[in-house]
Amino acid sequence: MSIVRSTYHSRLSALSRQSRRIGDQMARAQLEASSGLKVLRASDAPGRTSYIHSVRESRADQSEYTSNADWAFQHLAAADGGLGGFAQVISEARELAVQMSSETYNTDSRINSQADATALFDRAIQHGNTNLGGRYLFAGEAYDSEAFDSVTGAYLGDTEEPEVAVADGNVSVLTGFDGSNLLQGSGDVITAIQNLETALGTGSATNVQATIDELDAALEQIAVARTVLGGEMQRAEDGRDMAQNMTIALASQESDLVDVDAVESFTNLFEIQQAFEAALQVTANARSSLLFSRL
């Protein structure tokens, strides 16, 4: 068996290298403990880098979906307020129609109440032109201008409806509506009030009586519209909830991939510090182990 000769210089060099390596490990452990991250560079986990980026990108997407869903919900809530106003107007119009179709009232009374119907028409147009921050909610994609003409009641908007994405896979919710479809479908809300106004102008109880069915249909139309809108609001809420849940799940996933376990990290740092101090002590002892110093 041969014994490898060990010199004083090589012993100190070996100890120095060992101390330096422990020092490097300590620097790394300190960095991890202070940053809370175990993946600080792509080379720390090259096999997982692409996946980490996908998780982060998904998290960013979920954040946008949450924002979009909130944004959509605010606009849908404002639109729902508009439809509620519409329902109120149509109810009042129906009450007026029922009242004026009664023989209790004479022709003059009916003609005089035409002004009430005109006021109801104006209110209906107002609700039809409901806007949030200048965005007309029943004008379809042409939401930068009014949905209904204030004089004729004609629809001025677009038939395409704006929407925003609230989840992956092109899941989107409406943020505005085609007023011509929503309010002038099977029961034309605007025309029903206009017809009441006209009927009252004739002073004929029969004519007024004839508008009640239209107004009932209009009320039904509003109810349908509110159901549609309520469904969109529900979808917006669902989208927000899903995005928030996904955000939490993805954050947890990202944390597993890149974050250090705090307890493990500090324990590791403590152990390395102990080893470093021991290495320094051994080096100090080795420095004094020299025959020359004893001559």
Partner: protein
């Protein structure tokens, strides 16, 4: 044998002990000198003198100082120094490159890509909103800036390798020349001690050449060393050949070695520090190609989709991004006209569309998740992540190589130290031995002197 002869024998002991102390002193003084090999005094017994039919010893003579060296270990050490230096410089260079991708603050291209598409997603809330359009352009510009910055860092890193090589080539040639001069001095040296010192200095130069450039050496029986690179001799005896560095049209460094009839390209066989730098150069060229492919694919797909839409004036969309072939990443930017006018974002699907028409916007956002890369298997996030992973893998591999090379070098240094290193404890013991030897010889001298004095007294 006469008393005078005894006096001479003791005097030779004094000379040997003095030389022994000299050699020990030389060893102790050079204990920490890099590349120094321990010397051992070589002593020969003097020829015996015939006296009365007997051969009587006449003492000893110092005949030289033997250099303790293991040629096999030294040769392996030269290779290991080169390997360690090579892996270290590659690792350090790639770590710098890796920092450009900025994984920690998440402000690197991958995050900026996600931010850009998120801003496009926000724009779907209101495609007519000027501030959202401006935000989309801002995020687009940040993304292109991020790609450009990385491309710029890669280019700077690549070019710095050539510049450093070019600046260092004269120093390398100077060292090759010095090795040749030391070879000549070793051949001409008349003393073992002197030749040993020349060898130590030459070997140190060879280690530096191995460390810097990956030169290898073969030590000949006559004490000279032949220095080569990739099998091409750079120093043979007292002759040396110089290296030359040039930049190719592709912007990468090329190293040539002079031959008798011209030059030979040794770029691929350069080792040591510059070998590592050249390895990193190859890595960087690969990263640049990956990044250029990414920009070209994404930019082209996005521009194609953008052209399918209509801007706020009802005109078909123009280019969203611009870039030049061959340097896609370095020239990646927003179209100048678009950058100055956010209304040119072609969000609408129809020329006569209403303000809220974001049909094309949806398609543009869809480009992010289209499987456009790696033969239709990766989307843009995965493709950019793959570039990051490629950088990360290269750095991790270089780190592991460096660790292995460093450990090998440590082992060989320990072996060299075992064969050639100065052990101060041993030198202290040798010093005590030479001191005792000197004292003993001196005692013989004084004893012989007393005997001679007593003899003189008798004669008187």
């Amino acid at each position: 044998m006469s008393l005078i002869s005894s006096l001479n024998t003791a005097a030779s002991g004094l000379r040997v002990a003095s030389q022994g102390i000299n050699v020990t002193s030389h060893n102790v003084t050079n204990a920490t000198t890099e590349g120094y090999s321990r010397r051992t005094l070589r002593v020969e017994t003097s020829l015996p003198a015939l006296s009365g039919g007997f051969g009587i010893g006449t003492g000893a003579n110092p005949v030289g100082a033997k250099r303790s060296a293991d040629i096999f270990v030294n040769r392996r050490l030269v290779d290991a120094v080169g390997q360690d230096s090579r892996s270290s410089s590659r690792y350090q260079t790639l770590r710098t490159v890796e920092a450009s991708f900025d994984e920690v603050s998440q402000n690197g291209p991958a995050s900026l890509l996600a931010n850009f598409f998120d801003s496009m997603s926000r724009l779907t809330q209101d495609p007519s909103d000027g501030s959202l359009r401006e935000d989309a352009l801002t995020q687009g510009e940040r993304f292109t800036d991020g790609i450009q910055k990385v491309a710029g860092d890669l280019q700077t890193g690549r070019e710095s390798i050539y510049e450093e090589l070019e600046q260092t080539s004269s120093e390398i040639n100077n060292r090759l020349s010095q090795v040749a001069q030391f070879n000549a001095a070793i051949t001409a040296s008349t003393t073992e001690m002197g030749a040993g010192d020349f060898m130590d200095k030459r070997d140190q130069l060879i280690h530096e050449l191995a460390d810097e450039f990956g030169f290898t050496a073969v030590f000949n029986g006559d004490g000279t060393a032949q220095v080569s690179i990739g099998g091409h001799a750079a120093v043979t005896g007292a002759e040396f050949r110089s290296i030359q560095v040039q930049q190719t049209a592709a912007g990468v460094a090329q190293v040539d070695l002079e031959t008798g009839s011209g030059t030979v390209d040794v770029t691929d066989v350069v080792g040591g520090y510059f070998g590592g730098r050249l390895d990193a150069q190859s890595d960087i060229v690969g990263f640049e190609a990956d990044l250029n492919t990414f920009v070209d694919t994404l930019g082209t797909a996005f521009n194609t989709q953008h052209a399918a839409g209509f801007d706020q004036t009802g005109a078909p969309g123009g280019d969203f991004f611009t870039f030049s072939a061959g340097s896609e990443a370095a020239t990646f930017s927003l179209d100048t006209a678009l950058a100055a006018d956010s209304s040119l974002i072609a969000a609408a699907g129809l020329a006569t569309a209403a303000a809220g028409d974001g049909a094309n916007l949806e398609s543009l956002i869809g480009v992010e998740s289209q499987l456009l890369f790696a033969g239709g298997t990766q989307d843009s996030t995965e493709a950019l992540g793959a570039v990051y992973a490629s950088v990360g893998r290269a750095v991790a591999t270089a780190e592991m190589d460096n660790y292995t090379a460093s450990a090998t070098l440590d082992d060989l240094r320990a072996l060299r130290d075992a064969a050639s290193g100065v052990d101060l404890d041993q030198e202290a013991a040798d010093l005590l031995a030479w001191q005792a030897s000197y004292q003993a010889s001196a005692r013989v001298v004084t004893t012989t002197n007393q005997m001679l004095a007593e003899l003189m007294e008798i004669v008187r």
